[in-house]
Amino acid sequence: MAGPMKMRATLAGSYTDLRVLMTHPMATEQQTKGQPHFIQNLTVKVNGKTVIEGEISQAVSRNPVFSFRLKGGAKGDKIEVSWLDNKGDTNKTETAVA
């Protein structure tokens, strides 16, 4: 079962500041004797439309925290962030721009 995720989206003048926190071990090959467990893909959508696609490695720190910036934005815009790891686990969270 995936642990909690948390996201905050706030208007910061000309852009929207997005901060996402994910619970994940991000275990490396070294730590697991060859059985790494880490998030590989993440997707940011605004009102249903994909705006950022990320591919990440086991070198991202445990419990990943990402910040992104979205062009413009308005209060109430619906932001969705999802991730997928190398074992097929996924999680997602949604928030509205504040």
Partner: protein, 148 residues
């Protein structure tokens, strides 16, 4: 085209059969780039084998890190038309840490926490309008605590 449709149909069938989660069937992850043991190989696999040094890429990170398990790295590209950013830690066993594609609606900016095994250059490669640009910054990793 036919082949692609066939593949998609196959994936859809797997999803329906409950064998694959929908995201898993569609997500791409550049295994060759992430398995590369040098940044040169990783960049080749990403399709950005050479890049021109640019002051338009700003890497904000501490010059010296208290612990390599978490090293905050913030990247901004001021190069017009930037559509992707790749972050590499030169001396990590697998240098490529992350790669982000920015579509309409996103600014070419990202902040991540990366693991660093030792003091190393951090390299950022940006792609804008089909051209590749890069910048590097050294981050010193220190040892703290009793080492128990």
């Amino acid at each position: 085209m036919m082949e692609r449709r066939g593949l998609l149909k196959g994936a859809a069938a797997l999803v329906l059969a409950g064998l694959l989660k929908p995201v898993a069937a569609l997500a791409a992850w550049n295994k060759a780039a992430f398995s590369s043991k040098t940044s040169a190989d990783a960049l080749k696999s990403l399709g950005t084998p050479s890049a021109e040094a640019s002051g338009g890429i700003v890497i904000e990170a501490p010059q010296i890190a208290e612990n390599g398990a978490v090293v905050p790295i913030e990247v901004t590209s001021n190069i017009a038309g930037t559509t992707s950013l790749a972050v590499l830690v030169e001396k990590n066993p697998y240098p490529l840490v992350a790669k982000f594609d920015f579509m309409e609606g996103a600014l070419p900016f990202v902040k991540i926490n990366a693991k660093m095994g030792e003091t190393s250059d951090v390299r950022v490669v940006a792609t804008a309008r089909g051209k590749h640009y890069q910048a590097t910054k050294e981050i010193k990793v220190t040892i703290g605590g009793c080492g128990g």
